[in-house]
């Protein structure tokens, strides 16, 4: 069940209407130019993909097009003529809506309240909550979300929040819908539903701008593809004319190696981490799993399967009980992030904005926050060492920054992810659990991260990868456990690890449970 259909759709020959045009668009923050000279036509009824490496300027371009950020040079034009948007609301009124890469919702409000914020349904001053809840339920169903209109957004898992954002974009008739990495936090099912929505928008004559690092999606969807590199526009190609490898090479400007590293030989070593009967948030369900040195354990499942919850429970970040947790031969009784880190186990969260990085602080404090004790022997901070570490991390993880003095929130999404990885790796752990390791990472860097995980595991460490990207699990993991409803429903090894099996187990809970349990 591959979510990505393989039919190509050629651009229509009929006279295209330019829904939105950018002429010589550019943006500079102070002396730093992050985008220059972009000239682009977006046509009604096309899916126009924008691809590029992390930090290439994709999100910046989208913010310029949708009025969130004012360009420093250049001009926007609609069908009706040139425009200057004073703010995002003006752009929305002109029919242009942006779904942000980073979640932008009010956590204290309900889903319906968020959806209709600023454009509430109602008579006069009053709001009509009934009508809004009803309409919200429809929209949520349309995007395939299981959230309910009255749920508080702050209580929802990340994926659901993303779907709420997408639902908001569909609230009204739009001329241009911009989706900035909408699928980064989604799993296969939701992705498929989203791609259908995108197609139906296109068929209704809407112009869709689509950013993704998942090139299979781009290939399946895009009528035209524009490539950005290092803040400049490289060019626009018909979607059908590029295959994924060509896209990747245009993005990075060089030939690419193969994506996934070769699998390691099966390991026979005793587990380095074993978890027995872990239950989280006072739930009935329990999970047990283990990972050995030299092994990558994948955890698959649909969103809401309880993977993140289980691991957060393991790390002592949620209320949890466990019968036994053994790490490097020692039984762990005090499960707190600090104690586990000292014992060699670290966790990289999927929610980099909410739980991963201090967006208002500079890069160096962010990098060293978790490993303060191991990088600073005394009580005093080693500032020089910190700078050196940051320089090294920037180099090792290829974090694209134009200045080391930026705040973390000023990095592009993918570079934030790399900074986060550098942060948890700083304590030199023996076991690392990564939740969605390549969320928002461009294809060139993806293979870098895979290689990185491979090298780490080969040196006798262990890695647990939670991923909603099936191909990632398949390409990377030596063993995959699949979760559903808070329980482990299947365990796959060797040849059994393929997308069909993972998806089947995740949706039906059926596959292989008999053989493997």
């Amino acid at each position: 069940m591959n979510t990505v259909a393989s039919s190509y759709r050629l651009p229509e020959a009929k006279a295209a209407v330019v829904a939105l045009r950018a002429e010589g668009l550019g943006k500079a923050y102070g002396p730093i130019t992050v985008l220059s000279d972009v000239t682009l036509d977006v046509l009604s009824g096309e899916v126009h993909a924008i691809i590029g490496e992390n930090g290439a300027g994709k999100s910046t371009l989208m913010k310029l097009l949708s009025g969130y950020v004012a360009p420093t040079v250049g001009q926007l034009a609609l069908e009706s003529g040139p425009v200057d948007f004073a703010n995002a609301v003006e752009a929305e009124n002109a029919g242009i809506v942006l779904v942000h890469q980073e979640i932008l919702l009010a956590a204290d409000l309900s889903v319906a309240e968020n959806l209709f914020l600023g454009r509430e349904i109602g008579r006069g001053l009053m709001v009509d909550d009934r009508a809004m809840n009803r309409r919200a339920a429809e929209l949520l169903a349309r995007v395939g979300s299981t959230a309910r209109p009255r749920d508080r957004v702050g209580d929802l898992p990340l994926a659901q929040r993303q779907l709420v954002q997408i639902a908001r974009a569909l609230l009204e008739e739009r001329k241009v819908v911009i989706l900035d990495e909408p699928t980064a936090v989604l799993a296969n099912d939701e992705v498929a539903a989203l791609l259908d929505i995108v197609r139906s928008l296109r068929d209704h004559g809407v112009a869709v701008l689509y950013i993704s690092h998942r090139l299979d999606e781009v290939q399946a969807l895009a009528d035209r593809i524009t490539v950005l590199r290092d803040g400049r526009m490289i060019g626009t190609w018909p979607g059908a004319s590029l295959n994924q490898r060509e896209m990747a090479e245009l993005m990075v400007g060089r030939k690419l190696e193969m994506l996934y590293p070769h699998k390691r030989p099966p390991t026979t070593a005793a587990p380095i981490l074993s978890v027995t009967n872990l239950s989280v948030d006072h739930a009935e369900t329990k999970v047990s799993f283990s990972v050995s040195p030299g092994e990558v354990l994948g955890i698959g499942g649909m969103i809401g399967a309880g993977r993140t919850e289980a691991i957060e429970g393991l790390m002592g970040l949620r209320p949890s009980q466990a019968e036994r947790v053994v790490l490097q031969g020692k039984e762990i009784t005090n499960r707190s992030v600090g104690a586990l880190m000292d014992a060699g186990l670290v966790y990289l969260t999927e929610d980099r904005k909410g739980k991963g990085l201090l967006l208002e602080q500079r890069l160096a404090p962010n990098l060293t926050l978790q490993a303060l004790d191991s990088t600073n022997p005394g009580v005093v901070l080693d500032r020089r060492g910190e700078t050196a570490r940051l320089e090294k991390a920037v180099e090792d993880y290829d974090i694209r920054v134009r200045s080391l003095r930026l705040e973390a929130g000023q990095l592009s999404g993918g570079n934030q992810q790399k900074l986060l990885l550098a942060k948890v790796m700083l304590s030199d752990p023996s076991v690392i659990i990564i939740d969605e390791p390549t969320r928002g990472i461009d294809i060139g860097n993806k293979s870098q991260i895979y290689d990185f995980i491979d090298a780490m595991v080969r040196s006798g460490k262990a890695c647990i990868v939670i991923s909603s990207e099936m191909s990632e699990l398949v390409g990377l993991a030596d063993r995959v456990i699949v979760m559903r409803g808070g329980e482990i429903v299947a365990e796959l090894r060797g040849e059994d690890i393929n997308e069909e099996n993972v998806v089947y187990a995740a949706t039906t809970g059926g596959y292989g449970s008999a053989e493997n349990h």
Binding site: Y68, N87, A88, V89, E92, L104, L105, A106, A107, D108, L109, E113, N114, L117, G118, R119, E120, G122, L125, M126, V127, D129, R148, R150
Partner: protein
Amino acid sequence: MSLATTTIAPAGEESRIRWADLAPFIALALIVLFGALVNSNFVSSANLLNVITRSAFIAIIGVGATFVISSGGLDLSVGSMMAFITGIMIMAMNYLAPAFGPWAIPMGAGVALIVGSLCGLFNGLIVTMGRIEPFIVTLGTMGIFRAFITFMTDGGSLSIDRSLREAYRPVYFGNFLGVPYPVLITFAVVMVGAFLLYKTKYGRRLTSAGSNVEVARFSGVNVAKVRTIAYVIQGFCVAVAAICYVPRLGAATPTTGQLWELQVITAVVIGGTLLRGGRGRIGGTVAGALILEVIANVMVLSDMVSEYLVAAVQGAIIIIAMLAHRFTANR
């Protein structure tokens, strides 16, 4: 758990939310129960009516504060503002009394409402236009209003004209079908406040501004306007409280309304409104105001503590009440 609801919502989650919302009312019930055990006079209808009537001021001002706080602001000036408005109102009434007789009362009340709204507007504009911490702004205006009332009274007191006194008295001391007027007024203010906060676009936008300014702004909410209006509502509520307050003692002094700001904020927070903004609970605020007043009343009625330690016991009870409802609400 076995609530027969119409929704298919999992019972656990829904009821947890309701529990947390009920917490201030449960705390109130417990304190009332305690009061009844300590002193049998506590539950006499005269005493209960007194206490409820007395809590009207903090409750009314608290409704306004719920708006300000859920928008992410704070107003420390309400106590002094109340004194200032009281002073202006008395001066207006005394000035108008010779010409208009008892009509001076509603006219003075009108003046109070206008002045109150303007005071609120002033706070709101400095906070939003000047983009200064509300804490600092309203600490500043707290000093300003307090100085004005001291100046107006020459440090002494400013009494309402004797001719108006009798006509005005019932607004505090009178009742309608046994319900004292201040309670009725509080009820009206709460209803209007709850309607504004929960049922109007304005309320929705206000809460969003308190929850996440960026999101609100990007959704087309005029955050500055919404917040400024919250301060105006606060000022208006203070004026309403002042209108109920004057007939009680018939005078304004430099100590009128002193430290009320702290009581108001405490009532609002005990009631379940988030101090960082994003969630407002009007009903809870009223419960909070009652809790404060009942605790003070029980302290006097019970003979348990030395007069020196009353403040300590009050402080401790508030902390314990919060702790208790934290652990019953379990989150």
